[in-house]
């Protein structure tokens, strides 16, 4: 398997004052692959996601992104406008709190259409049709298209955020605890949606979660973080069924039916 990676981080390190949030982290992601970053709260997962996506600059290390033409980009050396363009087109970011991504004063349809317009779409009918199609894909009724997001439940908001993110067919999506804070029944529906959409569209995903069951369901590979370091990586089922590192064994043993 010598297929080139889509995204690679090497030697990533970042400290906040005296706190080491990341140390010596190497990450690889291949096209169409789902990689889960797991670990307890405070282990550095969100920091890693932010560094990989260029939202935070690391103290050490480099992140390479390979664009559709095969050209490599040092994510942290890209001019800000180029990085912004990347985030609006090839990349997507799904936050735990959808309000961080959605515009709460814009209708549901507008939220989805906006990303297309940012990419240059201008034809109103096409944009509205795409918004309708995406609302349907995330199981939001068509008659809610003109409603404001604040009238939506937590699960619907999260589904709307996913529609907004995927409408531009990104190749790479970063997700930070996408099911965190939702009821279990709502979580199951969202997980199923993410699983089927990502598989069908062959999107590469870096998924941060503290929930091992979520990683088991979605991810091809898993990286376990403890105190800013990756202590174990491998196929998801290998790492969860045959954990080697003491911390991974602790993590797995503390979950029912991991």
């Amino acid at each position: 398997m010598t297929e080139p990676t889509l995204l690679s981080g090497r030697g990533l390190g970042l400290s906040f004052g005296g706190i080491t949030a990341l140390a010596d982290v190497d990450v690889d992601l291949w096209p169409g692959e789902m990689l889960a970053i797991v670990g307890e709260s405070g282990s550095g997962k969100t920091t890693l996601l932010n560094v990989l996506s260029g939202r935070l600059t690391p103290d050490t290390g480099v992140v390479w992104y390979r664009d559709p033409n095969g050209q490599l980009h040092d994510v942290h050396a890209m001019p800000a406008p180029a990085l912004r363009t990347l985030h609006r087109s090839d990349w997507g970011f799904v936050h735990q709190d959808p309000r961080q991504n959605l515009r709460m004063t814009v209708s549901a349809g507008g939220n989805v259409g906006e990303r297309l317009m940012a990419q240059g779409a201008r034809h109103y009918g096409d944009i509205r049709a795409a918004a309708l199609d995406w609302l349907a894909q995330v199981e939001i009724d068509a008659d809610r298209i003109d409603d404001l997001p604040r009238t939506f439940s937590g699960g619907m908001l999260q589904r709307l955020q996913i529609a907004r993110t995927l409408v531009t067919h990104p190749r790479l999506v970063f997700m930070d605890e996408p099911t965190g804070g939702l009821d279990v029944s709502v979580q199951a529906r969202l997980l199923d949606l993410i699983r089927s959409l990502v598989t069908r569209l062959q999107i590469a995903v870096v998924l941060v979660t503290h929930d091992i069951a979520v990683a088991r369901l979605l991810a091809h590979r898993i990286a376990v973080m403890q105190r800013g370091r990756i202590v174990e990586t491998g196929l998801t089922d290998q790492v969860l069924d045959d954990p080697r590192h003491p911390y991974t064994q602790l993590l797995v043993s503390s979950v029912l039916n991991a």
Binding site: M1, W30, E33, A188, R189, L191, D192, R195, T199, L217, H220, R221, G234, L235, D237, Q238, D241, D242, R244, H245, P246, Q249, L250, S253
Partner: protein
């Protein structure tokens, strides 16, 4: 005869860090060879490491010593040394596994649980579902259950869904961990027929099964394992 799978000096132990780093050797010096069209049944008492061996062959447990060569396309891939993405490719095309228990996925119907492997091979939805439907019916899972996620199924029903899922893609190598443990005689007979058909079409099979009648019907050879302590 074509060798489909061959282990050499395969060993596996577990280090239990939550038990003070206790070292538990389970497999040592396993040399197993399985040819196309042959079914090898692992035998030995509970705890002998039969499931551990099958899981190691699948790349689910990480072997520590030795090699696990699997015929994949035209090459032999060493599962014990392969990177994760290679293992996924081998599982996709070559290596099928029916685990002891079905792992249920919320909201996915029994039909789609079974059809899934075909869908990831870009076979169209209707064709995949037709094939899944006929396998489920063959295993006596009635149509009314097909649209329901198997989470609420009985143990025996889940096991049959798992079998349908494992057999649907026609993998050249199949690993079966107690596939008939909770089945009645009628369904055991169905599984025996399915295994015999797979063998006839050249599938290499490694199975664990405790029913003497099933074992006698499917095994070409027994591979006897004993718990590690006894072996020493």
């Amino acid at each position: 005869m074509t060798v489909m799978l061959r282990t050499r000096a395969l060993s596996k132990s577990f280090t239990l860090h939550l038990r003070g780093g206790l070292l538990m050797p389970v497999l040592a010096d396993i040399d197993l060879e399985v040819h196309a069209g042959e079914c090898v049944v692992l035998s030995g008492p509970s705890g002998a490491g039969k499931s551990t061996l099958i899981r190691s062959l699948y790349g689910n447990y990480r072997a520590e010593g030795g090699s696990i060569l699997v015929r994949h396309d035209a090459t032999m891939v060493d599962i014990a040394a392969a990177d994760p993405r290679t293992i996924l490719a081998v599982r996709h095309k070559t290596l099928g596994y029916v685990s002891q228990f079905l792992r249920v996925v919320p909201r996915v119907s029994a039909l789609d649980v079974v059809a899934e492997v075909l869908l990831t091979r870009n076979i169209d939805l209707d064709t995949a579902r037709d094939k899944a439907r006929s396998l489920l019916l063959q295993l006596n899972i009635p149509s009314r259950l097909h649209p329901i996620p198997p989470a609420t199924f009985s143990g025996g029903e889940q096991q049959r869904v798992n079998l349908a899922r494992g057999f649907i893609a026609g993998h050249p190598i199949l690993l079966l961990d107690e596939p008939t443990a909770s089945l009645d005689a009628e369904n055991r007979a169905v599984v025996i027929r399915m295994v015999q058909q797979a063998k006839a079409s050249g599938t290499a099979i490694v199975a664990i099964c405790h029913d003497a009648d099933v074992r006698d019907a499917i095994a070409d050879r027994l591979f006897t394992m004993s718990p590690y302590q006894d072996a020493a």
